[in-house]
């Protein structure tokens, strides 16, 4: 399949890179996913991209070393050329307070990392909808 957009997943757990790759692949989006291990790496990766090469969606893990999900989200929203990119946060824990904070900082959504393939597929479907909305 040929797509002209990218999805950036930022997660410090290499196993989760593999799991997410599986979910995206199942949904037929396996070749447009790019992985980075923390917020800082993600920001420097984005800084090196041309305006038309930016990802359409950024998925941030909440608990990460160096720059965590919330900090990275805040920095993304502070930069005018990145502010428009859709950002979702996903985390292992289901914490109302954290969810609230993320939404307040401009995250599109907050996901608990799925326990089953079925739940994972549903999450990817939600991503696809977001992408469709943003590409319209």
């Amino acid at each position: 399949m040929n797509h002209d957009f990218k999805i950036l997943v930022v997660d410090d757990d290499p196993e989760d890179h593999f799991i997410m790759q599986e979910y995206f692949s199942e949904a037929g989006l396996g070749d447009i996913v790019v992985f980075r291990e923390n917020g800082e790496e993600a920001l420097s990766y984005l800084a090196g991209l041309p305006p038309n090469g930016l990802p359409a969606l950024i998925v941030l893990d909440l608990n990460m070393p160096v720059l965590n999900g919330l900090q990275t989200l805040t920095m993304l929203k502070e930069q005018s050329h990145l502010r428009h990119i859709q950002v979702v946060i996903y985390s292992t824990s289901n914490n109302d307070h954290e969810r609230q904070q993320c939404l307040e900082q401009g995250a599109r959504d907050y996901f608990v990392k799925p326990f089953t393939l079925e739940a994972g597929t549903l999450m990817i479907e939600r991503f696809r909808q977001m992408l469709a909305e943003s590409l319209q």
């Binding site: 196993e15 799991i19 292992t92 289901n94 799925p114 326990f115 089953t116 079925e118």
Partner: protein, 550 residues
């Protein structure tokens, strides 16, 4: 005149003495025997007259110091009798014998002086005068009478001095702020100063053993009696403290009594001397200091307990912190590998179904189930630990709405089991909606879970209300439990039924109990094995009165 010797003029013996001493003084002054005799005879004439007619008469013999270093022997006779013709006769006779006789009459007093000039007076030095005085003092007695007389005079003198000494002693002892006394071996008070008598208000004659007991505080009497007994037996000094009654106020004040044995010449104790001193102020200070010490001790204990309390609070805070850490660990770090376990099991089941045989699939299913139980456990533990560390906001909670919503949540299970649920209307109370929902969710879940096979499950939700509180009962007709276990079931991880038949974590009812407690309420259970289980939750309608104390 420098007085050398005195002679009292009372009887014939005195007359002899007056003659003898006049003569002697003249002799000592170096005058000739004839002059001595003449002078002594003249003196005797006057002395006789004084002895015969006078009263309290006496004669002084001495040396007069005249101008130009001249000196004369002088005898002066003093009398208080009237100047009778007898006196005139005597004086005129004396004048015939002596050159210089003078009479001075001063009211009732008669003073007759006889003078005898010493021609070589220069040799009589002051030292010589002293030797004259010494001579007459040590003059051997001229008779036994003279001896007795002299002794008598000495005794009188001693008596006078003793009286003076005694007067000054009692003056002193009466004014000392002390009670002083002496007591003989028969127990009779032989001396007491004024202070003692004034303090006790009892005359000295009455201060016997019986009266002592009247003035000693009843609590001290026994001790004092035994101390005195010891004193008499051991003959050792006593120094003790007792309360003595002050007569003027009727108050018993603390005194120190000191008694010492006084031995006589033969080393026998016949007297006891002692003093009593007021130590009440000192006692009061001692008591105050003692009280103060107790106060300090109490204070120290208080500080100690406070420190312990602080340490416990610190330990509690630490364990709370650890609990929070644990909650974090449970919510995140434990779920992380569990989630992956689920994922891999899923992948295996979905993608490799064809290559795994039936028993392999069974193992996979078991693995997923075990992981599922762990997930539940983590979820419940997390819920329970959150109850201990968070402060919850209270607000209006419509219990009826909550129960209706819960019944909708359990709709599928209720339908599957064919359960009949009856619910009375419930009121609005003050509480935390999320937690109260959790409480009743657990109770409903249990009521449905522990149903009896082959019997239509019946669940009754009833409500009793008082002006302050309400009691909600959730009763089922399920398997129930042994009533003896009714307290155990609320303990953490307690399970009454085998996991294989009734899965669960053993945390649910602990959560219910904690939520009820957080609402200042309680939960209790009654049951009969194989018949029913009934859970009653009591909650105050308002949390208002707990806000300040909680």
């Amino acid at each position: 005149m420098k007085e050398i010797v005195r002679v009292s003029l009372e009887n014939e013996m005195d007359l002899i003495l007056a003659h003898k001493r006049s003569m002697k003084l003249a002799e000592l002054c170096g005058l000739s025997l004839s002059i001595q005799t003449t002078f002594a005879t003249a003196v005797s004439e006057i002395a006789r007259c004084a002895i015969e007619s006078g009263a309290e008469a006496f004669m002084l013999l001495g040396i007069d110091f005249l101008k130009a270093n001249r000196k004369q022997v002088t005898a002066i006779v003093y009398d208080t009798a009237p100047y009778t013709p007898k006196w005139q006769e005597a004086v005129s006779y004396a004048k015939r014998l002596a050159d210089n006789v003078k009479v001075v009459r001063n009211g009732a007093h008669i003073e007759v002086s006889l003078h005898l000039e010493i021609n070589f007076a220069g040799v009589i030095s002051p030292a010589k005068l002293e030797s004259f005085i010494q001579y007459f003092e040590s003059e051997p007695p001229i008779s036994p009478y003279d001896e007795i007389r002299r002794k008598n005079i000495q005794l009188q003198d001693l008596a006078q001095r003793l009286r003076e000494s005694e007067a000054s002693y009692s003056f002193l002892s009466d004014r000392l702020p002390l009670m002083i006394f002496s007591v003989n071996h028969l127990g009779t008070i032989t001396f007491s100063n004024k202070w003692l008598q004034d303090y006790l208000g009892i005359p000295i004659t009455q201060l016997d053993i019986a009266h002592w007991q009247q003035v000693v505080h009843t609590e001290d009497q026994h001790r004092m009696a035994s101390d005195l007994n010891q004193l008499i037996i051991n003959k050792k000094a006593l120094r003790q403290q007792y309360r003595l009654r002050q007569n003027s106020t009727g108050k018993y004040l603390w005194h120190m009594i000191s008694i010492q044995p006084a031995e006589n010449d033969r080393d026998l104790t016949t007297q006891w001397v002692g003093f009593i001193v007021d130590i009440h102020a000192q006692k009061l200070i001692e008591q105050t200091l003692k009280d103060n010490t107790e106060l300090k001790e109490t204070q120290q204990k208080l500080v100690y307990h406070q420190q312990q309390l602080e340490q416990k609070i610190e330990a509690l805070n630490r364990s709370n912190y650890e609990l929070e850490q644990f909650a974090h660990l449970a919510s995140h770090d434990l779920q992380e590998p569990l989630r992956k376990l689920f994922f891999y099991a899923d992948v295996l089941q979905q993608k490799y179904r064809e290559t795994i045989d039936a028993s392999g699939v069974q193992i996979l299913n078991n693995m997923t189930q075990a992981a599922g139980r762990m997930k539940e456990l983590i979820r419940d533990l997390l819920a329970y630990s959150e109850l201990n560390q968070r402060e919850f906001e209270f607000g209006e909670v419509n219990l009826d709405t909550i129960l209706e919503e819960l019944l909708k949540d359990f709709e599928i299970v209720i339908r599957d089991k064919g359960a009949v649920v009856r619910k009375q209307p419930l009121p609005i109370i003050h509480g935390n909606a999320v937690k109260l929902r959790q409480l009743f969710s657990n109770l409903l879940s249990n009521a449905l879970k522990y149903s009896k096979a082959g019997v239509t499950p019946q669940i009754d939700i009833t409500c009793l209300q008082t002006p302050e509180a309400l009691a909600i009962t959730v009763r089922d007709n399920g398997i129930g439990f042994d009533p003896k276990q009714q307290h155990r079931i609320f303990e953490l991880f307690e399970r009454l039924h085998s996991r294989s038949r009734y899965p669960g974590t053993g945390i649910g009812l602990s959560i219910c109990k904690r939520i009820a407690e957080l609402h200042h309420g309680s939960i209790s259970a009654t049951a009969e094995a194989g018949e029913y289980a009934s859970f009653q939750v009591t909650l105050p309608l308002s949390q208002q009165s707990y806000i300040h104390t909680a």
